[in-house]
Symmetry: C2
Subunit: 417 residues, 2 copies
């Protein structure tokens, strides 16, 4: 049997884009809604991003070159940008003309904000009765907290994640750490993408109900839904799940250990055979029969001591040596990857997860690839994040049947860009 038979991922793509035929209007900004539409666009949907005249703030977030953020190159990729001033009544009419041609609207204004601009669900469905609408917000569209400001870090804290990204109580007095990216926003955007496709499937399939549905996705709840046994263990046993630093509360040794060259290596040797291999490798074979370390339960009890011993050994080697030694002994391990490690990883390169993309603003830019990978019709990066309003004219002519003169007049009045 060849790998091609076994893998279900080899061979040339033979199908069109997974989401060809789908048109999505994004009334979004910052991270969550634009991340959702990026996922849809990566799989081939026609995403039209509506921006204010000054553009989405993410265009200025993070490191920049000539005033353009590199993040935008990924965040805005595969989208058409149309820029207009939503405070102008004419802009509202344009939005409604576009919505009539769209399957989906994705928005992450504060709950009720679109309705206050006369673009609430009823107004949108008046022009497109079977419209799927994805609302993304901090706390959801209903409930006592619905009007509170939504920040990613607050969503993560209320979702229960932030409390856990810390060392065990008493280990130090530094605060629990942020995950380093706006993971709550991205998870919420991914949930919205899932919900949109679920609603579309039921709407559009043969035998389906042809119904318009909405998605009401909250950052807090998106994070909370990933908390595994935290809630039932609290409810039944009163357990308040605690942070465990680099380790796992129920398995040892499993942690990140320092290396001589200032990085970290993960080692997961929390079974009897793996622990025996590790004990030999670090020159402490007597630990195999030491009652303090026989069995996972004993090792968990003495995890701090065990981690210190292992860390003393790892600290004597640079990471490249450690990986050779641990792989040679068949002990699960990994370097803790930095941006450099990700960019040069052979597996990522082989699978197109690190790609060079031409961006007129920057020359060549590295983009992460497309997830999920669909072997029969891989998603494509057709263009990087466009300038503000790059597609305004094109979209208005194509979808709102406007003429050059009308568009010029709107631009003159400061309604579009």
């Amino acid at each position: 049997m060849t790998h091609a038979d076994m893998m279900d991922s080899a061979g040339p793509a033979e199908l069109g884009a997974t989401l060809s035929g789908l048109r999505v209007l994004e009334l979004g900004h910052f991270v969550a809604a634009p991340f959702c539409t990026r996922l849809l666009g990566d799989l081939g949907a026609d995403v039209i991003k509506v921006e204010p005249l000054q553009g989405d703030p993410v265009r200025q977030w993070g490191a920049q070159v000539d005033g353009r953020s590199l993040w935008w190159s990924i965040h805005g990729r595969n989208k058409r940008s149309i820029a207009l001033d939503l405070k102008k009544p004419d802009a509202r009419d344009i939005i409604l003309a576009l919505v009539a041609q769209c399957d989906v609207v994705v928005e992450n204004f504060r709950p009720g904000q679109l309705a206050r601009m006369s673009l609430g669900p009823d107004a949108l469905r008046a022009v497109r009765p079977d419209l799927i609408i994805a609302h993304i917000s901090g706390y959801g569209q209903t409930g006592p907290y619905r009007d509170r400001a939504a920040f990613g870090v607050i969503g993560e804290a209320i979702g229960g994640l932030r409390y856990l990204t810390n060392h065990a109580p008493g280990q130090n007095d530094l605060p629990p750490v942020r995950v380093g990216v706006s993971i709550g926003d991205s998870i919420a955007g991914l949930y919205a993408a899932f919900g949109i496709m679920a609603a579309l499937w039921q709407r559009d399939r043969e035998g389906g109900d042809a119904a318009a549905r909405s998605l009401d996705v909250a950052l807090t709840e998106s994070v909370f839904s990933m908390m595994e046994a935290m809630l039932p263990e609290y409810g039944k046993l009163g357990i308040i799940k605690q942070p465990t630093g680099g380790g796992i509360a129920t398995a040892a040794p499993s942690n990140a250990y320092p290396t001589k060259d200032g990085s970290w290596v993960l080692i997961a040797a929390n079974s009897e055979p793996l622990f025996a291999k590790l004990a030999v490798l670090i020159g402490r074979p007597q630990m195999i029969d030491d009652p303090d370390y026989v069995g996972n339960a004993a090792r968990v009890r003495n995890a701090a001591r065990l981690d210190a011993i292992i860390g003393e050994w790892t600290g004597r080697h640079v990471s490249s040596e450690l990986l050779l030694l641990l792989n040679g002994a068949d002990i699960p391990n990994s370097k803790v990857y930095t941006a450099h490690d990700c960019a040069t990883d052979p597996q990522y390169l082989d699978r197109g997860m690190v790609r060079e993309i031409d961006d007129t603003a920057f020359g060549t830019v590295l983009h992460s690839g497309i997830v999920p990978h669909v072997p029969q019709s891989p998603g494509t990066i057709r263009w990087p994040g466009p300038d503000i309003g790059t597609h305004t004219d094109e979209v208005l002519m194509e979808l709102a049947a406007m003429k050059h003169a009308e568009i010029a007049a709107l631009r003159e009045q400061g309604i579009i860009r």
Copy 2:
């Protein structure tokens, strides 16, 4: 305008389940594949989980009551369990009979493992030509690392997440922390659920291509796809994104601060008006005009000093006082929620995100609710995680047209449970 008009989430549900009519076979274990099918089941799909005779290992993970894990009550909810010994040839025939009645198979064996059991994609599509197959693995179905063991923590490390869940270099010598849950597995499962629905929409819609697609979802790549600007900033400017502890590299003050009663409060006061309000609130109005703190750039430069000053103030108050003071001053803030805080949160309770579910094994169990929320047809928790093989007879009679006697014979031979 009433809230009902504005919110698009009020009013009674009027539609059937979003995923009614969808049948999914899970050949999964541990976290990623079962999390994917939980999401599908929560929205109404008929999920049939194939388990080994001894059950999915998660049935024994985490805190238990009478040998049953509380996690399972959530992880297995809404699924039908059929238990069989995949090493037996007759079991393979049963799988194929079930696949013929399913739209989707979700699996997270090692790449190639199902093919070695004669259940590879070709075998499955021989009985169901338009089958959608979702493969979830550590590194993906192709590439030089495809055969490596998949661990959640390793996927998170290679995805670039673990490096960032740490304090800034030089702050302490403790290792970067784990997120506290298997977030890489859950994100991969969510990506698979999105990809499944995308493939089904194109397969089943009017005007679609009626084609079978596969999803090749890797834990590593699922995490990596959420790393925002990390990769393009490295590629263009050589920036290696660094951890920033509880704060954000580009905004101050924004951090988690200690409280007198041993918890943490997040405060995000990183704009001029918010910072001014905070300075007054903590009794340091002179900071407003102090050149060390005027403007975000200056505050970022002096963030450590600023955080110490704010932390000294928060440490004098218990968290309930702090929330009153900060809300009173209209400064974005949140307690860092523990399991207790989540379980008792008014917003979660109002939106059905914390629910009491009857579980014959435990009595009442708390479950997290259903994400995404679909106001017109909210997902339902129809039953908690079932016992091993609860639905074996039912499924074999309904979908494989078996009779009682046949089923009894298979059970006698140890093929099913």
